[in-house]
């Protein structure tokens, strides 16, 4: 099959499945589920075929023409897109399979699977988009599907509020994104990624700091960077497989993918801002993760933190400035490291989330880690796979996270020492909070009835976990990747000689520091109560971390309630007084006139005749010149 036809099918088929489900299969849950899983299987096959088959193409056609503005829909399929597409395909497939078990009893299964299909289609659109307008369209569509899926249990207040928060927070970032696209079009005359790249190579293109920073706003919203990170932890109200697919592995990574797409627009100032935003997000989220009690919230903050890593990696990419043909910028190393970590993170974070889904399912929907405990005995298989995930994210040697995190740390070490220190600290905290959660969940004795009666899910739970666990182990070896991804993975900067040893030592120190503190603090796990030992031993630290976590939410709610709401009320008052007031006076006058005229209309012929006579008299008087 023609590659671009297949690419089109990868968008059309999931949309078709969702449309079919929405129009005919709303109540036929089994059929809708089957359809959606078949689509995910087709998608996986198609994505891998495209990515590994070596097909790299670009095609586009004009969708909307307004004067000299042409909005195109087109496909740009290069190594970057191939890598992202494979991740979406693999994780999407695993999540579909896992959902079969996890959502088995759900009364609205059809809607859930239709939502997953819409998400797959919109994510594919972002991956394939060859211009920023098209990317924006699908960008909004993933936002929509995220909204629908967070809000899956819409009867409850939590998911409802979380979905609204996610949607509205994303709108803030997307507004900047849209302005950035328009500004880019204004300055460069095109938003086509390949044309932008050609312009950058030719030199002399208008360089602007505003464009990349405005476009970065989109990534700040979607990838939940500071200060728009507030929606992601709340988004955990959605079903756990959704958190794995959308809020860990793919959609939130779309921001990093988008940054890699627009690398040609970058300027040094913008990159500095981006790397600092990423670093601050990484450390902030790691601090918040330390005190979480909800297993999914720990993972959510850890996702935030890892996304911060990727954004930093992108921002730290090396810059080469050629003076003859204007500033030419090469930031490939950043793209390589960011995408490499995105890939490994997608695998081990999806593994962790699905693992937590398995745990939550096993513990009868208990999410508080202090009410679990002792699961290493009752859920052996999940325990094993979860351990692989924890080790991978903590940077345990020879697992996926170790390599990708080291690549980023090396990049930071060679470009910006301050960020390097922050990232190293974050890595230590990552090891700490992951191992803290791992100990509390799996060791000691069961701290609630639900945990005591924990049971392992069936094959449908374990198979996706197994796939992801294998990928989380091998994902770090770039040599094992098919050559189709070389264009991206070969960009990862490699430490050489003594630096390599240095990096190894640093990452081992960081890992053992974090893990050591966690083991020391939670060693008495057998006697653990429902109170966090961290809170008991360091109450001041604990309280300040709680404050830190809540600072953004309380700041935003203060702003919304006290500033925005009052401003809105003021505007409302002026609206009532001015516009609506004038309108009402005008409308009132005409309505009064209408009352008068209506009284004249009595329906009797004689009365009309009198009026007629009156009119004739008036006419006569007028003709006679009396007035």
């Amino acid at each position: 099959m023609n590659p671009s036809t297949l690419a089109l099918l990868l968008i059309v088929v999931p949309v078709g499945s969702a449309a079919l489900t929405a129009s005919f299969l709303r109540k036929k849950h089994a059929l809708a589920t089957l359809l959606s899983v078949l689509v995910a299987t087709f998608y996986l096959g198609g994505a891998l075929h495209l990515a590994l088959g070596g097909a790299r193409f670009e095609s586009s056609y004009s969708w909307l023409k307004l004067a000299n503005l042409s909005v195109d829909l087109g496909f740009k399929f290069d190594d970057l897109a191939a890598l992202m597409l494979s991740i979406v395909g693999i994780v999407g497939f695993c999540v579909h399979i896992f959902s079969l078990g996890y959502m088995k009893e759900d009364p609205a299964k059809a809607r859930y699977f239709a939502g997953l299909s819409i998400f797959m289609a919109s994510m594919t659109g972002i991956v394939f988009a060859d211009n920023l307008f098209m990317m924006f369209i699908f960008w909004e569509l993933v936002g929509f599907s995220s909204f629908v899926l967070i809000n899956h249990w819409h009867e409850q207040n939590g998911p409802m509020n979380a979905s609204k928060k996610a949607f509205i927070t994303n709108r803030v970032g997307d507004f900047g994104f849209l302005i950035g696209i328009i500004l880019c079009y204004y300055l460069r005359g095109t938003v086509n990624l390949s044309e932008l790249s050609t312009q950058a190579k030719a030199g002399g293109a208008v360089l602007s700091t505003a464009v990349p920073l405005l476009l970065f706003c989109g990534a700040v919203g979607k990838s939940a960077q500071l200060p728009l990170q507030v929606w992601l932890p709340d988004a955990m109200e959605g079903p756990t497989p959704v958190s794995a697919l959308i809020h860990a592995a793919t959609m939130v990574a779309a921001g990093i993918y988008m940054l890699c797409r627009i690398e040609v627009l970058m300027v040094p100032e913008a990159l500095t801002v981006i790397s600092w935003v990423g670093a601050l997000t990484a450390v902030y989220a790691a601090l918040c993760a330390i005190i979480q009690r909800d297993i999914k919230k720990v993972l959510a903050y850890s996702t935030l933190s890892q996304l911060g890593y990727m954004v930093t990696a992108f921002g730290l990419g090396s810059l080469t400035v050629h003076s003859e043909s204007g500033a030419e910028i090469v930031i490939k190393a950043g793209v390589g490291a960011a995408m490499f970590h995105l890939t490994t993170h997608a695998f081990f974070k999806a593994l962790l989330f699905l693992g937590s889904g398995s745990v939550i399912h096993g513990c009868h929907h208990e999410q508080d880690i202090f009410k679990m405990g002792g699961l290493s005995k009752t859920m052996k298989v999940t325990f094993l796979k979860f351990t692989i995930g924890v080790a991978a994210i903590s940077g345990f040697p020879l697992l996926a996270g170790f390599f990708s995190k080291d690549a980023i740390l090396f990049l930071a070490y060679s470009n910006n020492k301050a960020i390097f220190v922050i990232l190293a600290l974050t890595a230590a905290m990552t090891a700490f909070y992951m191992i803290r959660m791992w100990i509390i969940v799996f060791f000691g004795k069961a701290r609630s009835d639900n945990a005591a009666h924990a049971h392992e899910g069936g094959f449908i739970f374990q198979a996706p976990l197994a796939i992801l666990a294998i990928l989380a182990i091998v994902g770090g070896y770039r040599g094992l990747y098919p050559h189709g991804f070389d264009g991206i993975l070969n960009l990862v900067a490699e430490a050489e000689g003594p630096a390599k040893l240095g990096m190894l030592v640093v990452s081992l120190i960081v890992l053992s520091l974090g893990a050591g503190i966690a083991f020391a603090l939670y060693r008495s796990v057998a006697t653990l109560t429902q109170r966090d030992p961290l809170e008991a031993k360091f109450p001041k630290l604990f309280v300040s971390l709680v404050h830190l976590k809540e600072s953004f939410d309380s700041l935003y709610s203060y702003y919304v309630e006290k500033v925005q709401q009052r401003f809105a009320m003021l505007l409302n008052f002026f609206d009532l007084l001015g516009i609506a007031g004038l309108l009402r006076i005008g409308a009132g006058a005409f309505s009064l006139l209408g009352f008068g005229v209506r009284a004249l209309h009595v329906g009797r012929l004689n009365v009309y005749l009198y009026w007629f006579f009156f009119g004739v008299v008036l006419l006569w008087l007028y003709a006679a010149g009396i007035f």
């Binding site: 009595v602 329906g603 012929l605 004689n606 005749l609 006579f613």
Partner: protein
């Protein structure tokens, strides 16, 4: 002599017109109103004939011929409307023909 008879004719015409006009205004029966209208028309033709005689020209008489022709056609149409109205509503009292309002 001629002048005084002109006044008499104009006076008769005015009286007939006034009677017709009052009839149109105060009567409730559609046929009577119609007759009153015709009376007004005839009053005006009477005045035209009188003026024609007074001026010793045929202009007025020619007018009258046309008016009578048109009036005959108008009566035919008007009476047909009244008959149709009666068939529809079983009444020709204009006070009851108020479906525009109610």
């Amino acid at each position: 002599m001629i002048q005084s008879s002109l006044f008499a004719y104009i006076g008769l015409s005015a009286v007939l017109f006034a009677i017709g006009f009052i009839g149109v205004l105060i009567r409730r029966n559609a046929i009577v109103i119609f007759m009153s209208l015709e009376l007004m028309l005839i009053a005006s033709t009477l005045a035209l004939v009188a003026f024609s005689k007074y001026n010793q020209t045929m202009d007025g008489n020619v007018f009258v011929f046309f008016i009578l022709t048109v009036a005959a056609a108008e009566v035919a149409v008007g009476l047909a409307i009244v008959v149709a109205l009666f068939r529809q509503k079983q009444t020709i009292q204009v006070s009851e023909l108020d479906s525009l309002k109610h």
